[in-house]
Each structure stands twice: as C-alpha cells, then as structure tokens.
Symmetry: C2
Subunit: 456 residues, 2 copies
C-alpha cells in the first residue's frame, strides 16, 4: 500500500491471502423458512431441485456448515482477477470535507466487470463436475449473462441465455460480449419454449421481463437431461459464493488498521450486498457494533415497501416459493438504468436479516444516484455501474452526515462493478433526461394482492 | 502467483516494486533526427514548443538521460491501477497445442481501459506544475481523450477534446465517459477554431479526421496563455512515460524464470509498442537475443509500406516536421475498427529502431485479428480491444510456428486494453460484416507524393 495525502490508498492482498472457504451465514442464522413446493405447500427436497441444479449446489443451498471449501479449480479461475483491491477514497473524502474515512471494495476488475463471476465460476464448475454439458439462464441488462458466459467458456460448457427482449434490442454490446465468450443469446419471450410461445400468443409485441425469461430458462433446463439452470442471485448458494468479497475486505481493513462503523451495499436480488456484508454480519453477531445498510432503488423498493411473505421467483409462477421481501411477482419496476436492481424480490437470507433488525435499508432516486456517481468518477477515477452507484450515493450521504456531526466514522461500501457498458445511462443523465419514479401505494398493493395463498 | 495446470498464472508486483524512473531510449540510441520547423527547415528549439508544452516535457523530449524520475504525485495516481498484471496464457497455449510459452502484460486495468493514462497522468501533472489551467487534445475513437479526461480530473485541469466527427456521432459512449470525468467534447471540424471553420467552409459535411482534429487542438492551445496542448502518442516524452509497462514486465518475467525470445506489441502512433518494448530494446543493445515485432493493421501499414522521411504530424500541416515512417500526412486509412492504429505516421524513435533493424514489423488484416481476439476471449477470459487484438494475432501466429518447428520459445505480448467500448466491432465480426482492406500501391504513392520538400 502507499499513498500521499491527496491520492487514493490501495490495499492489496497477495494470492496466498485469498479466502479458501466461503462463509455460510446459515451456520450463524438458523431456522430460515424453507422453500415450498407451489402445488403442495410442502418444503421442497433435493429431488425436486435435481433437474435444475447439481447436487453440490443443492447441498450448499441447505448446508449449515460455517465454512465451505472453495475447490482449487474455482480458486484458480478467481485468480484471473482476484484478490480485488480495497481503496481508501481520500480524494472523495477531501472533496466532501468529511471527517469520515471512506473505503470501497472494487469488484469491477473481473473480465465481466462486476462481482457476478464469483458465483458464475463456481456454478459452472459444479455443473461440469456432475457431467452436465449445457446451462441455461436469463439475463436482463446482461451483467449476469456475460459473467456466466465467461465461466462456461472456462469449463467448456454450452450456454443459452434468454435475454429480456427490450434489453436484447437496446443493449447489443452486452449481447456481443456474451457471444464473444461463446454463449448463444435469444430474445425473451422466444418461440423456443412453451412459456415463451404462450406469452407471445397473448401479446406478440411483448418486450419481455426478467420473470418471463426465468420461466423460459427453467423450462429449457427441466426438459433436457444434459442441461441445468443457473441463477445469478437470490438463492443461498449464490450468496455464499459472493462472500469472498467481504472476507477479503475484512483482511484489507485490518491492513488499514480500520474497524468499520457502517457497511453499505446495493441490493437487487441481494448477492452483491450479501457477499460484502455477510462476513461483517458474523462480526455483528459476535458482538461488534456495525450498521449494515442495503441500498435499493426507489423505483423497486423491495425491502422498504415490500412485505415479508412466500412468493414466486418468477412471473410465470414456475419456481418454488421463497420466503422473502417481495413487491409481488407481478410487480413491474419502473425502467430505471440500474437494471440489475429491478427485481420484485429479495434473497431470503437478506430478507431474514432485515426482519431480525440486523440490517437497515434505504431507497434512493436515480438522479441523486447518478449525481453521486459523477462526483465519484471525478474524484476517484472509477466510473461506477448504475447499480453500484446506489452504494456510492448512500456512502456519500453518510459521510456528509459525519461532516455535520463531526464524527470520524469508518464507512465501507461495495463498488460492485464499473459502468463501461452503461454509458448510455450517463449520457441520459448529462442530457437531463433521467426521471425519478415512485410507484403509487395502490400499485404496490395491487401487486401484493397477487401473492400466492400457499405458505402465507 | 499461483496456478494449476489448466488455468492462467498471474505475476503481480507489489507497489514497492513499481518503477520509480522512466527509461529513456535516447540515452542508448543516440542521434535521432531532430524535428524541423516547417517554414525554415531548421531544427526547432524549446522556445518553438513552449506555447504548446510545459518546459519539463520539452526537456524530456530531447533528454539523453537514461533514467528520468517519476514524480511521486504521478506515482500516487499510477497506484490506482498499477502495477498491472502479467499473465501466462496457459489455457491459450493448451488450446493451440503449442510448446511455446505465451505471456501477456495487461494494461486494461486502468479506469480508462488502456495504457494511455500512463502518459496522460504525467502530462497533466507537469502542466499543472507550470500553472496551466486548461488542456486541449484531439481524439479519434476516444481512448486517448478519455485517458486525458481522467488525468485532468485528478489534477483539476479543464480539458477540451476535439473528437473526430464521425466518431463523435458513432461513439456516444466514449464521449459520455469523457464527460463523466468532466471534459468538454466537441465534434471536429468545429466552428470553434479557424482551422475548423476553414474545413467546414470548403466542405460543410466533413466527417473530420485525426489530422484535422490535431490542427484544431493545437490552434486552440496556441491562442490562449492558460492553455497547453497534449498528444497521446508519437512524441519522445509520450513513449518515455509508457516505459513503466516494459520495466514491470521485465521484473514479472524474472518472477516466472522466463527470458523472452519474442516481444510483440501493436503499433499505431507507437506509444504502446514503445512502452512494452523499449526496456527490452535496451537488453538487446546489451547483447541479448530478442526478436521485437511491431504489429500494424494492413489498412494502415506505416512501417511495412511507408517511407522514412520528414512529414507533418497533422493533415493541416501545422506541426513541426518529424523524421518518421509515414504514409504521407494526407493518407486516409481505411475505416477499420482499430481506430487507435489509424495514423499515417509512426513515432520517430520506433521508426529509427526499424531503420536500424532492431525491430521487425508485420501488417495484419482485421478479420484474422478478430478471429484471434475471440479465441483469446474464450480461453483467457479477457476480451481484447481491437488494437490489442493485433498483438494477440501475431502472438498466436508465432506460437503456431513453434508448434510446427517444435521450439519452446517464450513469447511476450502487450494486451494494451480491453474491448468494453468496442463491442460494436465484435458485433460486426459475428455478423460477418467485417471487411479487409489493402490500399492499392498507387494510392500510397499518391499520398507520399505530398511529402514536404523541407528536410527530405
């Protein structure tokens, strides 16, 4: 590490200091509500999930072992871009005139540009081990689809990505990225699945949604023996794989002689937030005083305005029911630029932490988020992804509160990815074309009225 | 470092091992032909350059000191992304079935995504030191403009970028990136300068060129006391700043117990190629056997089909005359996707090495280049910029020759940047829309007929 007064300070681990096990919060937060079969209302078992996931991931989904070893083959791929840097944002602190110390953990060094490969690589590995030849998944803006495309290239798996049609048309570059890694990408709804054909029959002009694309990918995987399905967030095993982020950050903060007062992460499905914060949740459970804040968009306020209930993960009502914070599986979030945060639900483990009062949540409007992103780019040099910029905004707000109170708090936030593929959003911001959205209470209540009876 | 047999191996330096001085090839390669005043034909002196550049850079331009200290303020900014990784491309080697060992030095970790910030930061620093408030520059595809925008944000300088109009319209995302860092960007030819207005009067529909944009940026800087001009390649001081790349690579190869047989870099203006290769040129001058290969596009074959002569750096004939390999300042390279390699000239120091037989050159067609880029992405995970992909192609070709001969050569190539902002080029490649171009000999001869009489 090195610094002068005005510049950033970077804390880098050696490869030997990388975590060799994932941290499993389920060991320390017992009794999560189990997923239910939507037909029977009974907890689902491994056999129900076997058509979609390899047994190693099904075991991780329900494991209560605190540490789960990271296979050497997965660590080897991680080392392409890991360990990732932790920075002290000295130039931002100075620009804000805050006594707070601001640290950020940067996951944009991966070839796909976000934290998503942390789980994509693990999922591809376990599927390959089980003899699977082909994966399917859905993607919205394309961050998850491109991460899995890269992972599948490493392990020699075929990949078919169902990409929400509106994104497929508006974001050809993300699609080209997936194709560069060898994946096949089709617009969803497609004519390749029963679910897709049903949607198209009802509405030939459907622009698609994440919920529809999930239905298509799940149907495809369930119908072929050589194929499994892969999900980029929400599920316990996905969150588990992301905990390398927080574990590295713990060691890096120790290098800086810093104890965090506040941990901040953006939360869509919850995997980025979980990856950074769960190792610190453990510290909190062991007695440390830490505020942990999930930041969601005002246009998709799952934690702050949703309910804690059983709901489907997809629009097509094909997935098991998960006990989670949800706005209802039919909720259609406004078209904000942080596509990765536009999901009606929240990971069950994150939702449970929120219910137990172990974490807080805040919902922010996108214009204020982009304002913070630009301030960050001009001081720290890195241009945040719109999703990550939610955490930047919240961190700046906390630092400005410290300026008012004179407190020298230590803030850590997650910069989950860079904005290289999102410059259209910045363009719109500079042109004054970004709008803020707040869904009327009636709209949210209408979506919540559609929650399934089973489990609730 | 760590590896398993199938994965990449990464060689990382600590920050303490970063170079603290730039390597100046002029100490070891004496008597380069001096720049000439286009009017008088006399060598230009510091006073001629003072309206455009700070004295510290003018001194570096002509210095024969072997090592020039990197100011601590510049090193502090470098540490945002430096030292950069060196990888052994084990997965690519395996896919090729070659006995060769392939290493690559990756400069895409910088926030601007290429090697360009290595000099942008230094230039911004020296201008700030001299009390300059504002810089101007030109940019084509936008890689240089965005690097300088980032550097100016760090040192609190204003920046005006004259962006070739066709790129300004086709690449709004690069423009948004420059604006995210606070730069002002106008399409060139613009009505803001006499040069621009003259071009527009003759052709209101002009799409611009790099040569025109240089003329505009130089005129703007020369007309204001608070403003200097900044160039992203070609000049000696620019190449000097890039030598951190090769110096780091030397140490990293030593970590790998590797002695390079072949060094490969793509070459447009020459700064990336120089940055990687000059420290190895020194080794060669000291007696080591190393082949050093510059890779240029077949559509702009400056070294392989140009002549070594005095020529202007810009279309508008405003710059000093440089003795260099050139296709003539009026040469218009075909519209290949590697915008950063579309320059009629080549850095004088690189040209001199070529004349002296110390380096080789090869010119490659873009379809073969993209084929290599995709093979690289699918094996190594990183998606190369189209410019960098030229080096990938040449490295693969050398490795395939080793496969034929059975030689286990050690190849080092420079991966100067990522392709995140170039996915439209990949899209065109996958759609079968990329064309290869070879300029007819008459066309090149016609452009060469326009070389200035002065000096030649």
């Amino acid at each position: 590490m090195a610094s002068n007064g005005d510049s950033q300070t970077k804390y880098l681990l050696s490869e030997a200091e990388m975590p060799t096990a994932w941290y499993n919060l389920q060991a320390d937060l017992p009794n999560p509500a189990p997923p239910l079969h939507p037909g029977t209302g009974q907890p689902i078992g491994p056999a129900d999930l076997a058509p979609l996931f390899p047994m190693a991931l099904i075991e991780q989904e329900v494991s209560t072992e605190r540490w789960i070893e990271i296979p050497e083959e997965v660590q080897a791929v991680y080392r392409l871009w890991r360990p990732t840097p932790l920075y002290r944002a000295r130039r931002l602190e100075k620009a804000l005139g805050t006594p707070a110390r601001i640290f950020y953990k940067y996951e944009g060094t991966s070839p796909a540009g976000s934290h998503k490969p942390n789980t994509a690589v693990a999922q591809a590995y376990y599927n390959k081990q089980e003899g699977i030849k082909r994966l399917t998944t859905e993607t919205g803006a394309g961050q998850w689809g491109s991460a899995l495309a890269m992972a599948c290239a490493f392990f020699g798996l075929e990949l078919k990505v169902y990409m929400v049609k509106v994104s497929y048309e508006q974001k050809p570059y993300r699609r080209a990225l997936m194709e560069a890694w060898g994946a096949t990408c089709v617009p969803s709804p497609s004519t390749d699945t029963e679910s897709g054909r049903r949607i198209l029959a009802a509405d030939p002009n459907s622009r698609g949604s994440l919920g529809i694309a999930i239905s298509e990918a799940v149907e495809d995987a369930a119908s072929r023996d050589d194929t499994h399905y892969s999900l980029g967030s929400v599920l316990n095993h996905v969150l588990l794989h992301q905990t390398v982020i927080g574990q590295e950050a713990q060691k890096q903060l120790a290098m800086a002689d810093a104890e965090p007062d506040i941990i901040i992460g953006c939360a869509g499905g919850g995997s980025n937030f979980a990856g950074l914060s769960f190792p610190f949740v453990r510290e909190k459970l062991l007695g440390k005083e830490i505020r942990i804040v999930a930041v969601e968009p005002a246009a998709c306020p799952t934690l702050t305005r949703g309910v804690y209930a059983y709901d489907f993960g997809d629009t097509g009502q094909m997935t098991p029911l998960l006990k989670m914070h949800t706005l209802g599986h039919s909720f259609m979030p406004a078209a904000i630029h942080a596509g990765g945060l536009r999901y009606h639900g929240m990971a069950p483990l994150v939702s449970l932490l929120y219910e137990q009062g172990l974490i807080e949540a805040v919902a922010l409007p996108q214009t204020k988020v982009f304002e913070a992103a630009v301030q960050f780019a001009r001081t720290e040099g890195l241009v945040p992804a719109p999703e990550s910029a939610h955490a930047v905004r919240a961190a700046i707000d906390e630092a400005l509160r410290c300026k008012e109170t004179g407190e020298a708090k230590t803030i850590l936030f997650g910069l989950s990815g860079h904005g290289n593929f999102d410059m259209a959003a910045y363009e719109a911001y500079f042109a004054g074309q970004l709008m803020d959205y707040a869904h009327p209470q009636e709209e949210i209540e209408a979506a919540l009225a559609g929650l399934p009876a089973v489990g609730n």
